[in-house]
């Protein structure tokens, strides 16, 4: 190389507000099936974290077991990740976030990992309102074990081998609202715009963000008669209204008619604009949110969008009243009481 000639100008790399390019948010190459809805969700996660300008070193990724739970390996390579055991990701995430409450947690689960083996931990996670983005990649079946029904499979849905599901589905969104999650949404892996907006809003929220994403399994559950196929999802997606998210760092004013749109101010100063489809729909009304879910499912559809949000509800980490410095980094000066304390205890036992 010679210094004589100046190098050809390289077009400036597109970066986000913390000067990272989108590649900094990618992970390893996916090993899921081509066309799997989960891969589309992975892309949305990458984009949402990139666009929100989240430092990947400030993120912890969690998952349980299943196809869904492999996906944290496919995004945010610079973040620590923990692929734990089946159905128990919530407890791992709870412990890790207690150890370091300054981190942003994202967990990816599946419908079996959440609705079957993990229903107990799911229930208590929602109840605690732990600040965690909890995504269910929901395809109504077990992929890794070859297509058995999961608890979110709809009554009457047909498996690839012709078996008809004879049990009603668990509605994870209704359950999450009932149990205390402060951010509940449902989306479809094929709805790029809506899912992206929901994920960005979730990044801005401090509390459990339960996001159920219908994510068809192209190998075991994408046939005629399945209620979780691409075709069925496209035909029965029932958006509750447009979701528009404006982060606090973007100076955008949104024009909206007060009667037709609900504006929600998030904890970090971001704004969420939810256009109403129904006159009386209020996304911070638990009863209305649960009614909406039931009405939609009784029509054979599934409501998508921002179903319920309570931006100021107390979360589990705040309720612990921990010192500012993460517990993980406290040294003996901070965690070992002085000898006088031991002396006092010994005296009380004499």
């Amino acid at each position: 190389m010679s210094d004589a000639t100046a190098p050809a100008p390289v077009p400036p790399k597109k970066v986000n507000r913390i000067n990272l390019d989108v590649a900094s948010y990618r992970g390893s190459k996916t090993t899921l099936c081509a066309g799997c809805g989960h891969n589309a969700i992975t892309e949305r996660i990458i984009d949402a974290f990139y666009e929100m300008g989240v430092d990947p070193k400030r993120v912890m990724k969690f998952s349980g077991i299943g196809c869904s739970s492999k996906s944290p390996a496919y995004f945010l390579n610079p973040s620590h990740g923990f692929n734990s055991v089946h159905g128990r990701m919530p407890s791992i995430a709870t412990g890790a976030l207690l150890a370091n409450a300054s981190m942003l947690g994202i967990g990816v689960s599946g419908d079996g990992d959440t609705g079957a083996i993990g229903i107990g931990q799911f229930v208590h996670l929602m109840r605690r309102n732990l600040p965690l983005i909890y995504i269910i990649e929901d395809n109504g079946c077990y992929g890794l074990t070859k297509g058995q029904f999961s608890p979110t499979a709809d009554l009457g849905s047909k498996a690839k081998n012709g078996v008809v599901n004879d049990l009603p589905a668990i509605d994870t969104c209704a359950l999450a609202i009932e149990l205390g999650a402060s951010f509940v949404a449902r989306s479809f892996s094929g709805d790029k715009k809506q899912l992206q907006a929901i994920l960005k809003a979730a990044i801005a929220h401090r509390g459990t963000c339960m996001i159920d994403v219908i994510s068809p399994c192209v190998t075991f559950n994408d046939h005629e008669g399945s209620t979780k196929s691409y075709a069925y999802a496209k035909d029965h997606d029932d958006p509750v209204g447009d979701v528009q998210f404006v982060p606090f760092f973007e100076d955008i004013s949104v024009d909206y008619e007060p009667g037709s749109t609900t504006a929600v101010t998030m904890h970090d100063g971001s704004h969420l604009y939810l256009r109403k489809v129904a006159e009386d729909y209020n996304p911070s009304d638990k009863m209305a949110a649960i009614r909406l879910l039931h009405e939609s499912s009784s029509r054979g559809e599934f409501a998508t969008g921002m179903i319920y949000i309570a931006p100021d509800q107390e979360n589990f980490l705040d309720a612990m009243h921990m010192v500012e410095k993460p517990l993980a980094f406290l040294g003996e000066g901070e965690t070992r009481p002085p000898k006088a304390v031991l002396d006092e205890l010994m005296e009380s036992l004499r």
Binding site: A96, M103, V323, F329, P337
Partner: protein
């Protein structure tokens, strides 16, 4: 100061050699009747008089209405394990009174409610009928209070009959109830009324009495679970997740009290800890592993059923190499078995807890002091080895009251293990791999989330040195072999056994945990009664250190004493030993749910020795 009226009593003992500071009192009551205060007062008063003492609560799995027994052993030589024979019985429970009396050995004394007419049952015992109702009715008119202070009346009677200083009893009572002046006054009246009745009505016909000694000066009385809680606090625990289970609950509950008092800023209310009552033991261990993975000192406390539930996660922590501490306060059996009875029954299952090839590190505290020291040390060991450390206590150690020398302040700097520092990141650069054995001790370097160190993706067993997913056979074997190497390193880190080689002894005893006290007494019995000199090795951890094998090599026969049916430690030793030595091992087992006693050990060893 009340007088122990010692000038009267010796003359009243009829034709018997006095038995001083060497007997066992058993109080039979109904649980939920509030007898605990009365029993602790007797225990403390004897302790304050300088006489070595221990208290054991034998209670049912029930809130109220079932029989419960409290045993107090006073012994001038300092023997504090359970003694089989009861010398002095307080029969307060009509349901069990007959059986309680029938099981006494001849010559024992019985204090009982006169309505029960127990004196008709046997002619070879000393009976002291007490009209409890009449005495209590004179103390208070309130029916509810009468029920509560009833037990304090037998304390007063015992104060006289056993020459336990009334002043010491009152001191012990005010230690128990000092913060409740009304209750204190009422109980004092009952105590004095009981004593007065005894003095006026009973001629002492039994030989047992307490006399002041100087063998408890400076010592403390404490339960193992409280001691362990202190160890956790001074060991710097930051994340605790637990689920209620007998006999473990008092450990985290005591810890919560300590942490709120000593680990929370008084002005801001900010805590240097987080304690979560989880939804079950699986969630509890999940939180412990999550917290340990992220860099916190984390622990849970449970018992055998909880450890069983935790075992899948235990395997993950073994392979993912995550530190954490599990206290197993061992008890008998699953479900509604005998959750309130003691055992050392989880040794074998915990040593290999989980599926696949796993090896687990266990610490074996043998006293309340070791509950404290090992609790503190367990966090260092867990972080050094990046694995779960099990502290194997039991109900007898954890929930019963033991004497101890006061605990020493933990001033050893904490060992946070091989965590990648900025300097280490620079030194290792791209050669760092999460599961790479850089130092040759099998222990890799880990990085923590939220630090500048490079991240890695954590999984179960399917990873290579760089923490990348792999199913290659050679990667798997390499990883397993390194984990085995790490377990070898553990032998140099865990507490070494305590060994006492008696010169010329051909017989050795190996024991661990709460069996220690009974073994100490049994060795004296073997020497005195069978002229059998024994050496003694007390195990304090698994994996075993070479000292165990050396000890067995040094003796012709070695008795492994333990509190389970299946000779669990004996089997673990056999698995690890030079096969030529295994024939030297014998087993002494005790598994009836009661704490092990010296006599059972002595009888078993004597029988096996004479059958040779």
């Amino acid at each position: 100061m009340s007088s122990p009226s010692s000038s009267v009593e010796p003359a009243q003992v009829l034709n018997q050699t006095p038995v001083v500071n060497d007997f066992t009192i058993q109080v039979a009551t109904v649980n939920g009747s509030g007898s605990q205060t009365a029993n602790i007062v007797i225990l403390r008063a004897i302790f304050q008089m300088g006489v070595p003492v221990s208290g054991k609560n034998l209670f049912p799995s029930n809130i109220a209405g079932l029989p419960t027994w409290y045993t107090i052993r006073a012994n001038h030589k300092g023997y504090v394990s359970r003694k089989k024979e009861i010398d002095f019985c307080v029969a307060m429970n009509p349901e069990t009174a007959q059986e309680d009396v029938m099981s006494l050995r001849p010559g024992a004394a019985v204090v009982y409610d006169e309505q029960l007419k127990l004196n008709a049952l046997r002619s070879d015992l000393v009976f002291y009928p007490v009209p409890f109702d009449k005495i209590v009715n004179a103390v208070t008119t309130d029916a509810k209070l009468r029920r509560l202070v009833r037990n304090m009346v037998y304390d007063g009677v015992l104060s006289h009959l056993l020459a336990i200083d009334l002043g010491e009893m009152e001191k012990a009572l005010s230690k128990q109830l000092g913060k409740k002046p009304k209750a204190l006054q009422l109980n004092m009246s009952a105590l004095e009324a009981g004593r007065k009745y005894s003095v006026e009505n009973f001629q002492i016909q039994h030989p047992y009495r307490i006399e002041r000694l100087n063998k408890t000066a400076g010592q403390i009385l404490v339960e193992g679970n409280a001691a362990a809680a202190m160890g956790c606090m001074f060991g710097g625990v930051t994340v605790v997740a637990w689920y209620p289970i007998t006999p473990s609950s008092s450990l985290p509950e005591t810890l919560i009290g300590y942490m709120r008092k000593y680990r929370m800023d008084k002005t801001t209310g900010k805590a240097t800890f987080a304690i979560v009552q989880a939804e079950d033991e699986i969630a509890a261990i999940g939180m412990v592993i999550g917290a340990g993975w992220a860099g916190a000192r984390s622990m849970t406390s449970t018992s055998g059923p909880g450890v069983s539930l935790m075992s899948e996660f235990a395997g993950l922590a073994y392979y993912a190499e995550v530190p954490g501490v599990i206290f197993d306060i061992q008890r008998v059996g699953p479900s509604t078995g005998l959750p309130t009875r003691t055992a050392q029954g989880d040794i074998l299952s915990t040593a290999v807890n989980s599926h696949g090839d796993t090896q687990q590190v266990m610490l074996l505290p043998g006293s309340v002091e070791e509950c404290y020291t090992m609790a503190a040390e367990s966090f260092d060991i867990a972080e050094r080895l990046q694995t779960i450390v099990y502290v194997m206590s039991d109900l007898d150690l954890g929930m019963n009251t033991w004497m101890s020398q006061p605990f020493q302040y933990v001033d050893k700097p904490m060992d946070r293990g091989k965590v990648l520092s900025d300097a280490k990141v620079k030194e290792l650069g791209a050669t760092w791999g999460r599961y790479k054995d850089i130092d040759g001790d099998g222990i890799p370097y880990r990085s923590l989330p939220g630090t500048p160190a490079p991240a890695y993706f954590t999984r179960g067993s399917g990873h290579n040195e760089m923490a990348q997913y792999t199913e290659r056979p050679d990667d798997y074997v390499k990883n397993l072999d390194r984990l085995a190497r790490k377990f070898d390193t553990a032998k140099t880190i865990v507490p070494a056994p305590v060994v006492e080689n008696a010169p010329g002894a051909t017989v050795g005893i190996i024991a661990y945990g709460s069996s220690d006290f009974a073994v100490l007494e049994s060795r004296d019995q073997l020497q005195a009664e069978a002229n059998l000199k024994t050496s003694y090795l007390r195990l304090r951890a698994y994996p075993f250190t070479p000292a165990a094998e050396e000890f067995i090599r040094r003796h012709d026969r070695v008795y492994v004493v333990e509190q389970n049916r299946d000779a669990q430690m004996f089997k673990l030793l056999r698995m690890d030993l030079d096969p030529a030595l295994t024939a030297r091992l014998r087993s002494v087992l005790h598994y009836n749910g009661l704490p092990i006693d010296a006599r059972s050990i002595t009888e078993s060893i004597t029988a096996q020795e004479s059958a040779r």
